[in-house]
C-alpha cells in the first residue's frame, strides 16, 4: 500500500474529466490525520470536486483515492455507505430538511444507522445541539433560523455519529462577523473534542491562519502548494502569492480570454 502512514486522505495522480472538460489533472495530495487542513483555491478550481472524490461520489478517470487504509475509488455502493457513516459533511447550503425540526434533522442519521432507543437518541441529539450552542432551537424548523444557525445545526447533524473525518464545504461563505467567529471556534472545538481530521474547503484566506494546521492550494487542475498557512503566506511562487494576497491580476488573469479589445470595438463599429 503506497500511502503516508499519518495521512487521513491520500490522492495519487488523479485525473478527472466531467462533461469532456478536465477538472483535475494528475493531482496528488495528502491530508494529515487529526489536524485541521484547509483546501484553498480560486472558485471553480476543483476544491469541492476533491471532496466528492474522497467520498466516492465521483470516480477518477485515472489515479487512486485513499481514505485511511481504504481505497475509495474501487468501493461498491454498499462499501461506500459504510465509509460515509464514518465521515461527516457540512455542505455549503447546510442542506437541512425543511420539513423536519432541528431535532429530527440531527436525529436522522442516528435513527438510520443505530438501533438506539429514542430516549438515548434524544440525549445524544441534545448534546450535539448543546455543542453548537443551539439546544434551544430543537423544536424549531430550519426556516425559522438564520443562515449561520442553519449551518451550525447542519454541523451538529454531520457530527451526530462522531465521525473520524469532517468535511466543511465553504463554511464561512456569507456569514456575518459574529457567525464567522462562532464557526471558526466550532471547527476548532470539534477537532479537539472528537479528535477528528477536519478538512475545510474555502477561499477565505484571511481565516485560514486562525484555523488551519495545514493547507493545500489547488489551481489550474493541479496541486500548486502545500504546507502550513505561514509557509504558504511566505511563498515566492507567483500564483500562491496572488492567491494568498488576493491580488486581482496575475497568473489567474482578471480578464476572461477574449479577442483584442481593438478588434472587438472595430467589429461593433462596423455593425452600426
Amino acid at each position: 500500500m503506497n500511502k503516508e502512514p499519518a495521512s487521513a486522505i491520500v490522492i495519487k495522480d488523479v485525473t478527472l474529466r466531467l462533461g469532456g472538460r478536465v477538472i483535475l489533472e494528475r493531482l496528488s495530495a495528502s491530508i494529515p490525520a487529526g489536524k485541521v487542513t484547509a483546501v484553498l483555491g480560486p472558485s471553480g478550481a476543483g476544491k469541492t470536486t476533491l471532496m466528492r472524490l474522497a467520498l466516492g461520489q465521483l470516480r477518477p478517470d485515472s489515479g487512486q483515492v485513499w481514505m485511511g487504509n481504504v481505497r475509495v475509488d474501487t468501493l461498491s455502493a454498499r462499501e461506500l455507505g459504510r465509509l460515509r457513516r464514518d465521515t461527516g459533511v457540512l455542505l455549503q447550503s447546510g442542506a437541512l430538511f425543511t420539513d423536519l425540526t432541528v431535532f429530527d434533522n440531527v436525529a436522522l442519521p442516528v435513527r438510520e444507522h443505530t438501533g438506539l432507543p429514542e430516549s438515548l437518541i434524544a440525549r445524544l441529539v441534545l448534546m450535539k445541539l448543546e455543542m453548537v450552542g443551539l439546544r434551544g432551537t430543537a423544536n424549531l424548523y430550519p426556516a425559522e433560523l438564520s443562515g449561520g444557525m442553519r449551518r451550525r445545526v447542519a454541523t451538529a447533524r454531520a457530527m451526530a455519529l462522531d465521525p473520524d473525518i469532517m468535511f466543511y464545504d465553504e463554511p464561512f461563505a456569507g456569514l456575518d462577523p459574529i457567525s464567522l467567529g462562532v464557526s471558526l471556534r466550532l471547527i476548532r472545538d470539534i477537532n479537539a473534542a472528537l479528535g477528528t481530521t477536519s478538512i475545510v474547503i474555502t477561499h477565505d484566506v484571511g481565516e485560514i491562519a486562525k484555523l488551519a494546521d495545514h493547507a493545500i492550494i489547488i489551481a489550474n487542475r493541479r496541486l500548486m502548494a502545500s504546507g502550513s498557512p505561514a509557509e504558504l503566506a511566505g511563498s515566492t511562487d507567483a500564483l500562491v502569492r496572488q492567491f494568498m494576497q488576493g491580488e486581482p491580476d496575475g497568473p489567474v488573469p482578471f480578464h476572461y480570454p477574449a479577442r483584442a479589445l481593438e478588434s472587438d470595438l472595430l467589429a461593433s463599429g462596423e455593425k452600426q
Binding site: V89, L96, R111, A154, R157
Partner: protein, 255 residues
Amino acid sequence: MSTPSSGNALTAPLRELGRAGIFLLTVLARLRLGPAQLGELLRQVYFAGVRSLVIIVISGFFVGLVLTLQTYDTLTRFGASDAVSTVLALSLFRELGPVLAALLFAGRAGTSITAEIGLMRATEQLDALELMAIDPIERIVQPRLLAGMIALPALVLVFNVTAIVGGIFFAVFLMGSDPTAFWSNMQSSVELMRDFGGGMFKSVCFGFVAAWVATWYGWSARPTSEGVALATTQTVIATAISVLVLDFVLSAFML
C-alpha cells in the same frame, strides 16, 4: 434528408423514456419497506391523498352534475330518462372517474412531488442524504411512488361517490326523477368486477404512472429555479398524455 437536429428531435423523447425506465427499474430493484419507509409512505399518502380531497370532491360533484344534465336532456327526448343513472355510473366507473381524478392528481399532487424533489436536489438535500449513507431512492422516491398507487384509487372512489351525489342532486332533487328507479337502474346495469373493478384497476395503473412521471421529472430536474419550473410543467403534460394513452390501451384490453 435528416439533419442532426431532426434526429435529436426524434430520438430525444426516446432517450428520455429510456432514462426514466432505468430510473423506475432502479427504484423497484431497491424496494424496501422498513419502519422509516412506512412512516414516510403514510405521510406521503396524506400529502398526495388527503390534501387532494377538496379539489376531488368539488370537481367530482360538478362533473356528476353536468354529466347528468347533459344525458338527462338527451335521454328525455327519447323517453329514456330512467337510463340516466346507468349512463352516469358506467361512464364514471369505467372512464371519467379514473381519468379525471388522475389528471387532477397530476395537477395537485404530481406537481408538488416534482417541485419538492427538484428543490431537494437544488438545495443539496439529496446530496446530504447520500453523504449520510441514506439512499435517497429508498427514502424519498419509493414512498412517493407507492403513495401514488394507494392515494389515487382512494381519490377515484371519492370522486365517483361525489359525482353520483351530484347526479342524484340534479336528477332526483331538481328534475324530480324517481329515486328508486335511479338506484335500481344503476345497480342492475353496473357489473362489480367488469365496470367497478376495471375502473379501480385503471386507477392503480394511473396512480403508478402519475407518481413515476412526477418523481422522475423531480429527480432529473436541473437544480435551478427555471429547471424546477420546467420539470413541474413537464410533469403535468407527460402525465396527461400517458394517462390518456394508457386509458385507451387498458380499455381496449378490458372490453
